[in-house]
């Protein structure tokens, strides 16, 4: 016989995500989920943002990687509290993993936590991790068709960073295509043109984060 169920499948993760969010709110911490392909420039962007924001906020970082800790070592080298979250092969971070690792950070001494998610445009989009802000990177060399190919990632983000923007003259990247598709699926979220290398555009993005972090702390 048929039995009706009507159960939201992702509730197990969403529930923990809400718990993490509440716990962070009690510490007045804004957590930022940074997502993008491998090589999109997530670590470099976080590094640049730390440079711009460290005078205004006390920052910590959770470095998600399938294996290894090269990125974590790079961030820790800046004198920022950093923990490595290895997923042992899993293609995304889940709220439960964040809940387990948060006590390793000095939560009473932090205002902002950047989480560098696993390099992937598919899986991380499906899992909320207790973040207050979602940042998605798309770098110019990746190509201009990504919004159509990975709609959930670009629909659910709070802002899009076109990274390596200084590379635009060297690639057949149709910026209008990305802007138009992104504006269609996510009309209220801003887009930032950034080069982590030259620093162009970092300040605007940092101000956007600072404003959101200020709101989540008030």
């Amino acid at each position: 016989m048929e039995i009706k169920v009507l159960h939201q499948i992702m509730d197990w993760n969403e529930d923990v995500s809400e718990e993490v969010k509440a716990s962070l709110a009690s510490h007045n911490i804004c957590m930022i989920n940074v997502m993008g392909s491998p090589g999109a420039g997530k670590t470099s962007l976080i590094t640049s943002l730390i440079g711009t924001l460290k005078d205004r906020f006390r920052i910590g970082v959770i470095e998600g990687d399938i294996a290894g800790q090269v990125d974590a070592e790079r961030i820790a080298g800046l004198g920022i509290p950093t923990v490595q979250l290895n997923t042992d092969g899993a293609c995304h971070i889940e709220a439960m993993s964040i809940q387990h690792i948060l006590p390793s950070l000095p939560l009473d001494d932090l205002d902002l936590i950047f989480v560098e998610n696993i390099g992937n445009l598919v899986c991380p989009a499906e899992f909320r991790i207790g973040e207050s802000l979602r940042i998605t990177l798309l770098s110019i060399p990746e190509g201009d068709d990504k919004v159509e190919k990975y709609p959930l990632m670009f629909t659910d983000t709070d802002c899009l960073v076109l990274n390596k923007y200084d590379m635009l003259p060297y690639f057949d990247f149709d910026e209008q295509r990305v802007c138009s598709n992104y504006g269609t699926v996510n009309p209220d979220a801003p887009l930032f043109r950034v080069s982590s290398r030259s620093g162009d555009g970092i300040c605007d993005l940092a101000d956007f984060i600072a404003e959101k972090a200020g709101n989540s702390q008030s």
Partner: protein
């Protein structure tokens, strides 16, 4: 491959639900998936085959129904359906859309045996 962890929780919930209804066997799980999501039913089926072994769901079949992306157009005011590959209003071609649905992911129903009675699907006469 994010379907593995999803399938674990999906199966746990179904077994729990089946037990609470005194079901002895789960034959079919029916899920609904919005077209915007990156969920691959074939992957879930493969993981179900692995994970259900030795449980009341052994051999369970997944039936997935895809739900369309519905939008309302901020230019012409009409509602319609789009595909993620063609992001424009089906009426006026406008790009100023509000997404109404397409991110769903839920278990709709299960086909089960109760107390050893074989599953029946009387309404549509299949099986």
């Amino acid at each position: 491959m994010h379907e593995l962890t999803i399938t674990e929780h999906l199966l746990d919930h179904c077994i729990q639900e089946a037990r609470s209804q005194n079901a002895s066997r789960i034959r079919t799980i029916r899920v609904c998936i919005g077209e915007l999501r990156g969920i691959v039913p074939d992957c879930i089926q493969i993981y179900l085959d692995m994970l259900s072994e030795g449980t009341i769901a052994e051999g369970v079949r997944l039936e997935a129904e895809f739900l369309p992306v519905k939008v309302s157009c901020r230019d012409c005011g009409q509602e319609g359906e789009i595909t993620p590959r063609h992001l424009a209003c089906p009426h006026c071609g406008g790009l100023n859309l509000k997404i109404l649905s397409g991110k769903e992911f839920y278990i709709k129903s299960m086909e089960v045996d109760i107390n050893g009675n074989k599953s029946t699907a009387p309404d549509h006469g299949l099986e």
